[in-house]
């Protein structure tokens, strides 16, 4: 095997071959062995996609999902950064507030999902709120970590050159924090996504939850797989974007 898949593109080729094999097995099994009510062959899923997208309600559900995700993420980043800066600002605030953050972080958030729905209703607000409540934690944790990583010698150096407090924050502390912030954003994107998906699936009266439920009840695996593939693709793309941004902004790091 090593001989066939040699060289720089070896792994890539093997990956393609593996996926092709997997799809082939899936296609074969779905067509001839498994009950079509449960599994749809890949060809079926692909064939069904145009039909799926032609339904405006489905498109609206996906668009709504995307919008909720964006807003939840934005809230998580802004609020998380503000909280993180406040917590990390002084040793006192760190020691008194950070343990509370850790405590909240330890609670499995899924348990309060029904509560969020109760408070914010069945609409988009609860999904945004729930998503944001997930995303806020990695941001806070990373901003605080970034602030702690500021090296005293840099602050001292800036002081000896006559820097004011504002200048030290702008020129020394914030730039050091940016890689941590972007790492936090990468994590926040993943968990905000999870939060929004959770909320969407829970509410089966509208949105994506409605369609996953309907497609299941109709025993329409092609549509269901199609929808899931779309969501998975969105997740992978967003994560990749976040990852690249993180790499870009961490360029100056030698560690």
């Amino acid at each position: 095997m090593n001989k066939i898949f040699r060289g720089k593109y070896g792994p890539l080729a093997l990956r393609i071959v593996s996926i092709a094999l997997l799809l082939a097995v899936w296609e074969g099994a779905a067509r001839w062995f498994i009950d079509p009510e449960f599994v749809s062959p890949p060809s079926g899923v692909v064939a069904e996609l145009p039909h799926l997208f032609s339904d405006p309600k489905v498109v609206a559900a996906i668009a709504s999902f995307f919008m909720e995700l964006t807003i939840a993420f934005a809230i998580a980043v802004v609020a998380g950064t503000a909280i993180g800066l406040a917590v990390g600002a002084t040793p006192f605030s760190y020691r008194s507030v950070f343990p509370i953050v850790l405590l909240l972080y330890a609670i499995p958030q899924i348990t309060v999902l029904p509560l969020f729905i109760l408070y914010f209703g069945l609409g988009t607000a609860s999904k945004i709120a729930f998503g944001a409540s997930h995303g806020i934690f990695p941001i806070v944790l990373n901003v605080v970590a970034g602030m702690k990583a500021v090296r005293p010698v840099h602050i001292l150096s800036a002081q000896t050159m006559g820097a004011s407090k504002m200048q030290i924050i702008r020129r020394v502390i914030l730039p050091q924090m940016i890689p941590s912030l972007f790492a936090g954003m990468r994590l926040a994107m993943a968990v905000t996504l999870l939060g929004v998906v959770l909320a969407e699936l829970y509410v089966s009266t509208t949105g994506i939850g409605y369609f996953t439920q309907t497609f299941s009840e109709r025993f329409d695996p092609a549509d269901l797989f199609g929808l899931i593939t779309v969501l998975a693709t969105i997740a992978i793309v967003l994560n990749e974007v976040a990852r690249r941004l993180e790499l870009h902004f961490s360029r100056w790091r030698s560690d």
């Binding site: 050159m161 200048q167 730039p175």
Partner: protein, 276 residues
């Protein structure tokens, strides 16, 4: 020209004592240190590890206020940091890794309050002086130790202060880079006429660069002796192999030998103030 002709005292330290608290105990680091540095002189503070030479440098720079004693700059008492009179060159870690070489200098000038229009010129001139102009767009992580130190020096020079304080600037460099850097430094500083205080634990460096060397005792540090190096700047590599160099170095070694032994055998470690 070096300080031999100018008699004004740029820096005067009188009876400086300082101790650091470690838990419940106080560790005396400096004990009644007095010294004076003439304007335009380059002096070294030479001593074993932990003798308080970095602390003394920080006191001279206004970063630290001594428990007892005073510091006068040009006759005026020193109360704190003076960014327009004193600039520091720390060990290599002091460059901002998120800025390029050029940006590092620009930011320093911004801190000092130099008008925006002048900054670029001052930065460029300083980089030219240390021959790092072609690296202006590089990040510190992409530079070698010697190059980083040159940038740090350029930054210190660009601030155009009368006094330059350098805390073991060669410590992170290898032997060969040190030799070259030392020569460059000598040339450069002879041109600018600044008053320079250098902290080092290397005898050769001290002899090569300084007009006078303050030899310190082991902790708590006092000035044990002052050794003159009556050779004009800029000094060339052949100075190192001269008899004069050897003699002075030998004298330093004799003075320091017992102090080094004492500090090696003492059990305490005092963390440096600017530990990253």
């Amino acid at each position: 020209m070096t300080g031999a002709t100018r008699a004004e005292v740029a820096i005067e330290v009188s009876g400086a004592s300082h101790s650091f608290s470690q838990g419940t105990r106080a560790l005396a680091v400096l004990s009644e240190v007095s010294l004076s540095v003439r304007s335009g002189e380059m002096v070294s503070l030479l001593g074993p590890s932990g003798c308080g030479k970095s602390t003394l440098l920080n006191i001279v720079g206004g970063v630290l206020t001594p428990d007892a004693g005073s510091v006068l700059l040009d006759g005026h008492p020193l109360h704190g940091i003076m960014p327009h009179k004193i600039s520091f060159v720390f060990q290599e870690h002091a460059l901002f890794p998120w800025n390029t070489v050029f940006e590092n200098l620009m930011v320093a000038l911004e801190f000092q309050g130099v008008p925006a229009a002048e900054r670029a010129d001052r930065a460029t001139v300083a980089l030219d002086a240390v021959r790092m102009s072609e690296f202006r767009a590089f990040y510190p992580a992409q530079l070698s130790g010697g190059m980083k130190q040159r940038v740090a020096l350029a930054r210190g020079l660009s601030l155009e202060t009368d006094i330059l304080l350098m805390d073991e600037p060669f410590a992170a460099l290898d032997e060969q880079t040190r030799m070259v850097f030392g020569e460059d430094l000598s040339v450069l500083l002879a041109k600018t006429g600044k008053t320079i205080v250098l902290v080092t634990h290397s005898l050769s460096e001290a002899v090569f660069l300084s007009d006078r060397i303050f030899v310190m005792t082991a902790r708590p540090g006092k000035i044990k002796a002052v050794v003159d190096v009556p050779k004009e700047h800029p000094r060339t590599p052949d100075f190192v192999s001269s008899a004069q160099f050897g003699a002075i170095r030998g004298e330093l070694y004799e003075l320091l030998h017992d102090e080094i032994r004492a500090s090696v055998e003492s059990a305490q470690h005092v963390p440096k103030r600017d530990d990253g």
